[in-house]
Amino acid sequence: MPGEAYCVSISDEPETLYKRLSLLVKGHDKAVLDSYEYFAVLAAKELGISVEKVHKPPKKIERLTLLKSVHIYKKHRVQYEMRTHYMCLELKYLTSSTAAVYLEYVQRNLPEGVAMEVKKTKIEKIPEHIQEPVWDTLPQVEETEVKS
């Protein structure tokens, strides 16, 4: 166990809030995705993140039919298929630091051959320049005549 103290610096900038974080994990092997789901759900629970739902969209199979031989023999073909399994994990109500910590942890332990898409929904206040229409505050400008 290291004896040095890790410095945790706290900055004053306001945190961005994420209403929903949706992780879609894609892989060729269902068993790997199942294990990864167990890991991701346990990590979220330990870090105090509420898991909305975990669902598995149906797999997609991409099939190719190619000629078996290098030259002629059109009637003899070989078929390959690529199976992509999906697993979708939806998390609710995260702050930007919690999201950064969770995503880095979960992405560093992403197994080989598995891809991930993260959809973040950030919530924000209406910016100041949209609160009031600007035409009320502008000084009155005389209309210039159109020179034809």
């Binding site: 809030l17 346990l42 991930m116 919530i123 206040k125 209406i126 035409w135």
Partner: protein
């Protein structure tokens, strides 16, 4: 450790590490990080692969299938708990006042959606990552009646009437930050333009109207005309238009016509229209 005699060709292997492992050892020190499967370090009798005829799958020694598949031996539940306990210092809490979706929407009406992509390949970049989607409900913006109608006309397909949600998707800039700034710029421009009233907007005709307005329409003129003629033929004293407009029958008729035009023809609407016309023209006898 292997003792090998190159003369006779005999090698004596030391027993594998699994024989010396205690049952209650600390597993996270055996597999602290992601590593390939080492059969001499994992004390489990695993068999993997296609079984021989009338036999069992091959054992773990020299088994390529076990080495190929990614293993989660470094992520056992106690190891995950240890990692999370160390990471918990860097997490912040969600504000407890925003515990429902409605409260989030009331205080933070704008939603920005961005997508990040992680995959193995020659490049870590993904061109789809620059797309930004901005969603806002028009009821949260400071718009009056004319501004709201003008905004909906300007925006066209991007507004959904059922959920009252305006969705702006930007991907014309190469960076995500630029797309976000552009979407905010679009929202600002739409907002300010919809408050302006141009000179040519006064030429708005009946076909441009979003909803049916009964005042000053042919239906109103015809109804009043008919009623005045009925009253004149019965020789009642001159009833003024305002009195006719304020009477119950005309109000009923007005409501039923507006319902028919705005909501379409449903059984309810058509029967309501029938009743109101019967009362207006005083023909109760017909079924």
């Amino acid at each position: 450790i292997v003792i090998h005699c190159s003369y006779t060709g005999i090698s004596i292997h030391a027993p594998p590490r699994t024989e010396k492992m205690a049952v209650d050892q600390d597993w996270s020190s055996v597999y602290p990080t992601a590593a390939a499967f080492k059969p001499a370090s994992v004390p489990l009798p695993i068999r993997m692969g296609y079984p021989v005829k009338r036999g069992v799958p091959p054992p773990k020694e020299g088994n390529l299938e076990l080495i190929k598949i990614p293993n989660f031996l470094h992520l056992t539940p106690p190891a995950i708990k240890k990692h999370c306990a160390a990471l918990k210092d860097f997490c912040t809490e969600w504000p407890s006042a925003l515990d429902s979706d409605e409260k989030c929407e009331q205080h933070f009406p704008i939603e920005i959606e961005t997508v990040d992509y992680v995959s193995a390949g020659t490049s870590i970049r993904n061109p789809k990552a620059r797309v930004v989607t901005l969603r806002v409900k028009l009821s949260n913006l400071n718009l009056d009646d004319h501004a709201k109608k003008k905004l909906i006309k300007l925006v066209g397909d991007r507004y959904c009437k059922d959920t009252d949600m305006l969705t702006i998707t930007t991907d014309r800039c190469p960076l995500r930050r630029q797309n976000y700034d552009y979407s905010i710029h679009l929202l600002t421009v739409l907002y300010h333009e919809s408050w302006k009233t141009e000179m040519w907007e006064s030429e708005k005709t009946e076909e441009d109207m979003e909803e049916y307005i009964w005042e000053n329409s042919c239906s109103q003129k015809n109804a009043l005309d008919t009623l005045l003629r009925i009253k004149a033929s019965e020789n009642v004293s001159n009833v003024t238009e305002e009195e006719l407009l304020a009477s119950e029958v005309v109000k009923n008729y007005r409501n039923s016509v507006i319902a028919l035009k705005n909501e379409g023809e449903t059984e309810n609407n058509v029967s309501q229209y029938k009743e109101s016309v019967k009362k207006l023209l005083n023909i109760q006898a017909l079924p």
